[in-house]
């Protein structure tokens, strides 16, 4: 796997996602640049990273959970 592929995988494995005009969560742009194997690798990297984040967080929240809760609180 090339360094460029690894960078794309790591980018997609992050929890930040842009919002669309109606507030919908958008796919990461780099996801479209990955082949099937790269997308599977990104899923696995995300699963591992979220498990680690949740294990370290006092409330057991991953960055996915924190992103969603922040959105809910902003909307409230």
């Amino acid at each position: 796997m090339s360094d460029d592929d690894e960078a794309l995988i790591e980018a997609v494995a992050g929890a930040y996602r842009e919002r669309g005009p109606r507030g919908e969560v958008r796919s990461h742009p780099a996801w479209h640049d990955l082949d099937a194997a790269g997308r599977e690798a990104a899923w696995a990297a995300a699963a591992g990273s979220r498990a680690m984040e949740a294990a370290l967080d006092p409330q057991g929240l991953s960055s996915t959970a924190r992103a969603v809760l922040a959105r809910i609180r902003r909307a409230g």
């Binding site: 360094d3 460029d4 690894e6 960078a7 995988i9 790591e10 980018a11 997609v12 494995a13 992050g14 929890a15 930040y16 996602r17 842009e18 919908e24 969560v25 958008r26 796919s27 990461h28 996801w31 479209h32 099937a36 997308r39 599977e40 690798a41 990104a42 899923w43 696995a44 990297a45 995300a46 699963a47 591992g48 990273s49 979220r50 498990a51 680690m52 984040e53 949740a54 294990a55 370290l56 967080d57 409330q59 057991g60 929240l61 991953s62 960055s63 996915t64 959970a65 924190r66 992103a67 969603v68 809760l69 922040a70 959105r71 809910i72 609180r73 409230g76």
Partner: protein, 191 residues
């Protein structure tokens, strides 16, 4: 094993803290339920959108006498969103069996309860051994809580985006190797 519906009444009443407790336990199950969609939809985006919709519709989800009614509803919402994305991107066929197995596991109440404190200590010890730059990349992403793009996190560290991502990859791999050295079993894909 936990029945996460214990949080459902408070969630339905608009308690975001209760929803946080539910998400902390439900997220790993939901993510695994999307495993078979990984090549055809961006599962992170699908999962976040599904969680937002669960929050919005929780007051209308009725208990059915079996454990984890809200989680089973969330699995279905996630699946439908993933299917919709797969159709939109015209990506490949799906493994429906994997989704059904995930739903069966949730219906049986097989939901682990919260992070393991021993795992937390092991990760903390391994994190403390990371070299400076990988440690900084890891800390930036964790501190951002999914609310800031990598471009901004990289800029904050004075790194180019690719350098930031390479350092994060290095941190993840070093952590995995360290944890395995301490006898913590990890999923094969995370190495």
């Amino acid at each position: 094993m936990a029945d996460l519906d214990v949080h459902h009444p408070a969630i339905a009443a608009g308690d975001a803290h209760a929803f946080g407790r539910w998400v902390a336990a439900a997220e790993p199950e939901l993510r695994v339920s999307l495993r078979s969609f990984a090549a055809v939809a961006d599962c992170e985006a699908v999962l976040q959108e599904a969680l937002l919709r669960v929050w919005q519709t929780a007051p209308r989800v009725e208990p059915d006498g079996r454990p984890n009614a809200l989680l089973r509803f969330a699995v279905r919402v996630s699946r439908n969103l993933a299917l919709s994305e797969a159709r939109r991107f015209r990506t490949a066929a799906l493994d429906e069996g994997a989704f059904e197995r995930a739903l069966d596991d949730v219906a049986a109440g097989d939901v682990p309860e919260g992070p393991d404190p021993l795992l937390r200590r092991a990760i903390e010890a391994c994190r403390d051994e990371l070299p400076e730059k990988p440690a900084a990349a890891l800390a930036q992403r964790m501190g951002a809580g999914g609310a800031e793009p990598d471009e901004l996190l990289a800029e904050r560290l004075g790194m180019r985006l690719n350098t930031f991502l390479q350092n994060f990859t290095r941190a993840r791999k070093l952590l995995a190797a360290c944890l395995e050295g301490r006898g913590v079993a990890l999923a094969a894909e995370w190495r």
